[in-house]
C-alpha cells in the first residue's frame, strides 16, 4: 500500500461522518428547519450503535440502532419546535446537551471495551481496479451509503416533485401551505431524516472510525457538519466536497507534523477549518445563486391557520 493510498483511506474514514451528518441537516434546513442538535443526535447514534453491537453481536443491527436512535431523538426536537412551536435555536442546543448526557448513560456499561471493526464489503471486479479499487470499492457499508445518500438527496431535491415541494416549503412556508402542501408533516419527515443521518454518522464513529465507545466521542464533528451545510450553500455535492476537503486537510496536517516540517502545530490544526471555509466561499461567491439556494424561511416558526 502506497503512502498516498494510505492517506486517502484515512481521509475517507475521517470525512464520512461529516458528509453523513451534513447531508441530513441539509435536507432538514431545506424545509426551513434549523436543527442545531446534530452533535447530540450523532453522539446518541454512536452510543446506541456500539451498545447494540455489543448486545447482539451484529454490527449491522448496531447500524440500525444508530439510525433509529438518531431519528427518534430528532423526533423530540420535531415535537418541541413543530408542534409546540418552541424556538429552534434553543431547542437544538438543548438537544445537543441532552444527547451528550443521555449517551453517556447509555454507553457507560460498554466504556473501555474494544469492539470489532465493521468489515469492508468488497465489490467484485471493481475492487480489482488498481489504486481506485481498494480505496472506493473495498469499503464498509456506511461509506457506500454516504455516497448513495448524497446522490439520492441531490436527485430528490432537484429532480422530483416531492423535492420541489420540500424546497417550496423552505423558501416560503405560507405560500406552500396555501398551495395545499403539508408543511408540518414534511418538516417532521425532514427532521427525522436529519436525525437518521446523524445517527448513522455516529454509528460510523463507534463501529468504523474508532471501534469503541468513549463519552463525547463525536468531539465537535456535529458542529463542523452544521457549518459545512451553510458554507456549501445548501447544495448536496458541495457538502460532499466540503466534507472531503476538511478531512483531507485534517489528515495532511497530521502527516506534515510527522514529517517534521516545522510549522507550528496550532496553525496546522486550524488549517482544515480555514481551508474549507475559503474554498466553499470561493465556489459559492455568486451572491444571486447563493440567495436562491438559501432557504428563506430557515429557522422561522410556522403555525398553520385552521
Amino acid at each position: 500500500m502506497g503512502m498516498l493510498e494510505a492517506i486517502l483511506l484515512t481521509v475517507i474514514t475521517a470525512a464520512t461522518p461529516l458528509v453523513l451528518a451534513s447531508i441530513g441537516e441539509l435536507v432538514t434546513e431545506r424545509t426551513g428547519v434549523l436543527n442545531l442538535g446534530v452533535e447530540g443526535m450523532m453522539v446518541m447514534g454512536a452510543a446506541l450503535a456500539f451498545s447494540a453491537t455489543q448486545l447482539t453481536g451484529s454490527p449491522y443491527l448496531g447500524i440500525l440502532a444508530g439510525i433509529a436512535g438518531g431519528a427518534l431523538f430528532s423526533l423530540l426536537f420535531g415535537f418541541l419546535t413543530l408542534t409546540l412551536v418552541a424556538n429552534q435555536v434553543a431547542t437544538g442546543l438543548a438537544l445537543t446537551i441532552l444527547g451528550l448526557g443521555v449517551s453517556g448513560q447509555i454507553g457507560e456499561p460498554y466504556a473501555g471495551m474494544s469492539g470489532a471493526k465493521l468489515q469492508p464489503i468488497e465489490i467484485p471486479v471493481l475492487a480489482e481496479i488498481p489504486f481506485i479499487g481498494p480505496l472506493l470499492f473495498r469499503q464498509d457499508i456506511i461509506f457506500y451509503l454516504s455516497i448513495a445518500i448524497v446522490a439520492g438527496v441531490n436527485w430528490f431535491l432537484f429532480r422530483t416533485r416531492a423535492g420541489l415541494k420540500v424546497r417550496a416549503i423552505g423558501d416560503n412556508h405560507a405560500s406552500a401551505h396555501a398551495l395545499g402542501i403539508h408543511v408540518i408533516r414534511t418538516r417532521y419527515l425532514a427532521v427525522m431524516f436529519g436525525g437518521a443521518c446523524a445517527g448513522l454518522a455516529g454509528a460510523q464513529l463507534s463501529l468504523v472510525y474508532t471501534p469503541q465507545w468513549v463519552e463525547n466521542m463525536s468531539a465537535g464533528r456535529g458542529w463542523i457538519a452544521l457549518a459545512l451545510v451553510v458554507f456549501a450553500s445548501w447544495r448536496p455535492w458541495r457538502v460532499l466536497l466540503g466534507g472531503y476537503l476538511f478531512g483531507a486537510v485534517s489528515i495532511s496536517q497530521l502527516h506534515a507534523q510527522a514529517f517534521g516540517i516545522g510549522i507550528p502545530s496550532q496553525f496546522l490544526s486550524a488549517l482544515p477549518y480555514a481551508a474549507t471555509v475559503v474554498v466553499l466561499i470561493l465556489i459559492s461567491h455568486n451572491r444571486r445563486t447563493t440567495l436562491i439556494n438559501t432557504p428563506a424561511s430557515l429557522g422561522k416558526p410556522f403555525v398553520p391557520d385552521r
Binding site: T10, A94, V214, E215, A219, A258, F259, G260
Partner: protein, 356 residues
Amino acid sequence: MKKIILALATSAAVLGFSVAASAQDKTKICFIYVGSKTDGGYSEGHDRGRQDLEKALGDKIETAYLENVPEGPDAERAVERMARSGCALVFTTSFGFMDATIKVAQKFPDVKFEHATGFKSAENVATYNARFYEGRYIQGVIAAKMSKTGVAGYIASFPIPEVVMGINAFMLGAQSVNPDFKLKIVWANTWADPGKEADAAKALADQGVDILTQHTDSTAPMQVAAERGIHAFGQASDMIAAGPKTQLTSIVDTWGAYYIKRTQAVLDGTWKTGQIWDGLKDGILTMAPYTNMPDDVKKLAEETEAKIRSGELHPFTGPVKKQDGSEWLADGQVSDDGTLLGMNFYVAGIDDKLPQ
C-alpha cells in the same frame, strides 16, 4: 415552552453530576475530571483513586465528582459549584483547571483544594503530581530495544511542560540504548478525541514508525497499532484490553494512596498546603506488566525501573545537550525540579521544532 427547555437543560446538567452518598455528618471530598470517568485513561485513573478512597475511609467520608468539565471558563463554575455544595476538600485533576482553582480558592478560604500537575499553590491550594517522566524513560528504553525501524511515533496533546518533559524523558531513555534513535511527534491539540488520536496514529504508522506512544487519553491509538501489527504503550491506565498483543507496558496512575493520605489529613485537621511530586518509589505511578517483548528487553526494563526506584538513576542526568546544541546538564549533573516543571525545550536528537 421556556419551562420545557429549561427542564431539558437542567436534566441534562444533572446527568453529568452524581453524588455517591448523602449522609449529612460525613465529610465531603470532591473531584473534578476533565474527561469521562470511564475514558480508559487519565480521568479513569483519578476515579480509581476516588474509589480506593471510598473503600478506605467510606465510613467517615462521602465523595462527589463532576466529569467532562472543559478546561477554560466553564471550569471555574464547576469548581465553584463543588465548593458551594459543601465539599471540605476538592481535587481538581487537570492542568487546565489551575487558574480556576486558584480563583475559587480565594473566595472559599475554608475549603481545601488540591490541583493536579500545576504549579500555582496558595494557603488553601496544594499541588500534587506524579513523576510520569520516570515511566516514560523506561518506555524509551523499551522502544529503542524493540523498534526495527529505529523510529517511534509520539502522539502529544498540548505543548505544556508536562508533555514536553515526557517527550524528552522518552528520548533520553531511547538514546541510552540507541544514540541515533528518531522520534516523530504529532500534536493532536486535544486530550481526548478518539477519532483524531486514531488519525494521528495512522499517519505515524504510515510514515514508518513501529512503536507508538501517546500523551492523549483514549485507547484509539492502541487499537490502530493492533490493526497495523505494531507495538504501543498505554497511557494512564492499563490498556492491555485494547491491544493484548500490542501493548508493551503502560504508565498506570495510582492516585489512591495519595488521596487517602490527604483526606486523612483533613479529617485530622493537619492538612497543609504543599507541592507534592511523587514518583515510582512512592507508588503514585506503577508500570503495567511488561508484555509482548523478549525476555532480555523485559529484564532491561525491570532493571531500569529498579534503578529509578532506588534513586540510583535519575532520567534527567547529564551529559544532556539541548536541541540547539547548547549544554543543559554537565556530566553527572541532575536536573532540578523547577527546570523540569517549566520545561520548554527539546533535548538534542529530536528533529522536530517545539511549538511555542
